[in-house]
């Protein structure tokens, strides 16, 4: 072959795209920004993210601005926005701001400080658990979808993996988690890992289905014909085209994980007591639901808003990442 021979075509005869250059991100944003609920969800998502990060700094360290562990028995069950009663408090017990934004609980602890601490727990549980689930899901789904037709003894890899998924799905996952948590020492890390290990099945199914259809697409066949190696085909050609639905399910998965953690903490199987989480604030507060309703309503509404906003954000993402849904509007 002789590529060096200069083509004599003048440049104006060469074909170029008619449309002005537009990135896919721009197109995505055009659709996404039209979806008000999704935008709202995203804003709350960002606010939650920031306040959880901020909360980590404000509630930890040797002398935190908001101390979630400070017990003031003389100040118990104060309503939201109550001023601290400086006469009865020892100097080290006085809250920095002099005000209980969300009131205090039955031990006189600042609920605002505890909510801030709990936000970080919810955030990390959500992200780490879903991160684990997604990694396992992509790995298992990728193998089932790409190498599935190979045989391991009598069964194909695809059959093997998908039957494991079916078996995992047979157990009601919340009770599976309860059982495992009851056996393991209670700690925030165990909770994350256990939630992650019991929620990868959906992602596996997604990724497998995407890979099965992508495998047969011409651009993947072309890459194989070029001699591109499997690793690059999977990560350069297939994964970027399969990742959108995974991201969507991840966003919704975070909401589910937050809910699961709250449920576990509510039942007393979650993060162990001195540490505040939204679930155990709710759980502690339920005994005083008539005397101090804010103890139940504040964490309850916080969970509701965060979970709802994650779901709306995820659905908005799905609509704007899917070109077929795009055309409908």
């Amino acid at each position: 072959m002789n590529l060096e021979k200069k083509t004599s075509q003048p440049d104006f005869q060469l074909e170029r795209p008619m449309a002005p250059k537009s990135s896919q991100i721009k197109e995505f944003w055009l659709v996404f920004s039209n979806n008000r609920l999704a935008i709202g969800g995203m804003i709350i998502f960002i606010l939650f993210f920031c306040s959880a990060l901020l909360g980590l700094f404000l509630t930890s360290g040797p002398d935190p601005i908001f101390d979630p562990a400070q017990i003031r028995l003389q100040e118990k069950l104060r309503p939201p926005l109550a001023k601290a009663n400086l006469d009865t408090l020892r100097p080290e017990e006085v809250p920095r701001m002099g005000i209980y934004f969300f009131g205090t609980d039955d031990l006189g602890r600042d609920v605002f400080a505890r909510m801030l601490q709990g936000a970080w727990v919810s955030l990390t549980v959500g992200f780490v658990a879903v991160g684990i689930a997604i990694l396992i899901g992509i790995f298992m789904g990728g193998i089932a979808g790409y190498f599935g037709q190979h045989y391991l003894g009598a069964v194909s890899i695809d059959t093997l993996i998908m039957r494991i998924v079916d078996i995992m799905l047979c157990f009601p996952s919340f009770f599976l988690i309860l059982t495992v948590v009851a056996l393991l020492p209670a700690s925030i890390y165990n909770i994350m890992i256990v939630i992650g290990l019991t929620s990868w099945m959906g992602t596996t199914r997604f990724v497998r289905a995407e890979f099965l259809s992508l495998r047969e697409q011409d651009f993947v066949v072309a890459a194989r014909a070029l001699g591109v190696n499997n690793f690059r085909i999977i990560f350069r050609h297939m994964m970027p085209n399969a990742i959108a639905p995974v991201l969507v399910s991840a966003t919704i998965g975070i909401a589910t994980a937050i809910l699961t953690e709250a449920g576990l903490s509510f039942l007393g199987f979650g993060v162990p007591p001195p540490h505040a989480t939204w679930g155990n604030i709710l759980s502690d507060g339920k005994r005083f639901i008539f005397d101090a309703p804010w103890l139940t309503f504040i964490p309850g509404i916080a969970i509701l808003i965060v979970v709802l906003s994650f779901n709306l954000f995820g659905e908005g993402l799905r609509d704007s990442l899917n070109p077929k849904l795009r055309q409908r509007r």
């Binding site: 002789n2 060469l14 170029r16 008619m18 250059k21 194989r224 070029l226 591109v228």
Partner: protein, 339 residues
């Protein structure tokens, strides 16, 4: 486009054979029902043999589902064949492992029918083509960029296209990009799997001309697959007509058009509008619309595969397996009328 301006290429000079296929077979298992019971086999490719000479084009024609794409995938070893041999420049690549196949992958490339599915939507045109250049072994970034520009120019695309994504191009432009990707590894043989079927007529002509030019310039060999005998006439030196996984007629292009022998080829030619066939009027009328049903792939009746639709079918066509016979020099047909 009509047959009269068929570009007759130098059909009668001979070059060394670059690809030779012998008795290629691929049966797909057909599973049915709730338990995925094995219901039978689809004989997608059922004993196909042909050869392609260096710098020449073999047209492979046949109706949808006759196994053309399967042949393409078998040759590229994207699919394992059940039987048969594939020789690339004399080497039997059928037995090659994936590792041994790697250097040969560069030598045989493919262009697809669907211009929308054949480019990765998440990679720019530049990235797509550079992938091939990297496989070719050009490590230097500057060199790659220069080569990329040259390739784009060669297929008639502006160099500015390199940082655009596939969705910004029209079908014909994408097809050009697909050709550039195939050319990036400097192949000797390109398998064109219906590369113009999805394009409108004016763009079809452009792509055919481009493929013709590239062949002249680079000395490429083509296996040109199409369901349209007319289109194949523009490019091919030889034509193989395929039906139900078997080659029915195999001859130099001019002879297929001037002196077609197999009833199926006659039917295909009759289906091209405004074309005179050197056959008797009654024959032509009889063939104009191909009647009958294609055979059930699961329970093929013995004898000729074309018997159910052939206007000339006789009792012995339903009994004996018919072989490919050479009726005149380089002109093969699978029909008992030639006996």
């Amino acid at each position: 486009m009509s047959f009269t301006n068929l570009k007759m290429k130098s059909i009668h000079t001979h070059n060394p054979v670059i690809l030779k296929v012998e008795g290629l077979k691929k049966y797909f298992p057909l599973r049915r029902g709730f338990f995925q019971r094995l219901a039978g086999k689809v004989r997608a490719v059922d004993g196909v043999s042909f050869e392609i000479e260096q710098g020449k084009t073999l047209g492979l024609v046949g109706e949808s589902g006759c196994g053309k794409s399967t042949v393409a995938r078998l040759i590229l070893k994207l699919l394992e064949s059940d039987e048969g041999k594939i020789f690339y420049q004399g080497q039997d690549i059928q037995t090659f492992s994936e590792k041994k196949m790697k250097p040969l992958r560069k030598k045989m490339q493919i262009i697809f029918q669907d211009p929308f599915g054949s480019l990765n939507p998440r990679m720019t045109i530049g990235q797509t083509i550079e992938e091939g250049l990297r496989i070719l072994g050009i490590q230097n970034r500057q060199q790659r960029k220069a080569r990329l520009q040259k390739l784009l120019e060669m297929v008639g695309m502006s160099a500015h296209s390199a940082d655009r994504y596939p969705h910004e191009f029209s079908g014909g432009q994408r097809q050009r990009i697909g050709i550039a990707r195939a050319l990036s590894v400097e192949p000797d043989l390109i398998i064109c799997d219906e590369p113009i079927s999805a394009l409108d007529v004016s763009i079809q002509a452009q792509i055919i001309n481009l493929l013709n030019d590239l062949q002249d310039k680079l000395g490429l060999s083509y296996l040109f697959i199409s369901h349209d005998l007319n289109v194949v006439g523009y490019l091919s030196h030889k034509v193989a007509v395929m039906y139900q996984g078997q080659i029915m007629e195999y001859a130099p292009a001019d002879r297929i058009f001037e002196n077609p022998q197999h009833p199926y080829t006659l039917a295909l030619l009759a289906a091209i509008p405004n074309i005179r066939i050197n056959q008797k009027k009654d024959k032509e009328n009889k063939l104009k619309v191909l009647g009958g049903e294609p055979p059930d792939p699961l329970n093929p009746s013995p004898g000729c595969k074309f018997q159910t639709r052939c206007p000339f079918a006789e009792s012995h066509c339903r009994k004996n397996e018919i072989c490919l016979k050479e009726i005149s020099k380089e002109h093969f047909i699978r029909c008992s009328r030639a006996l």
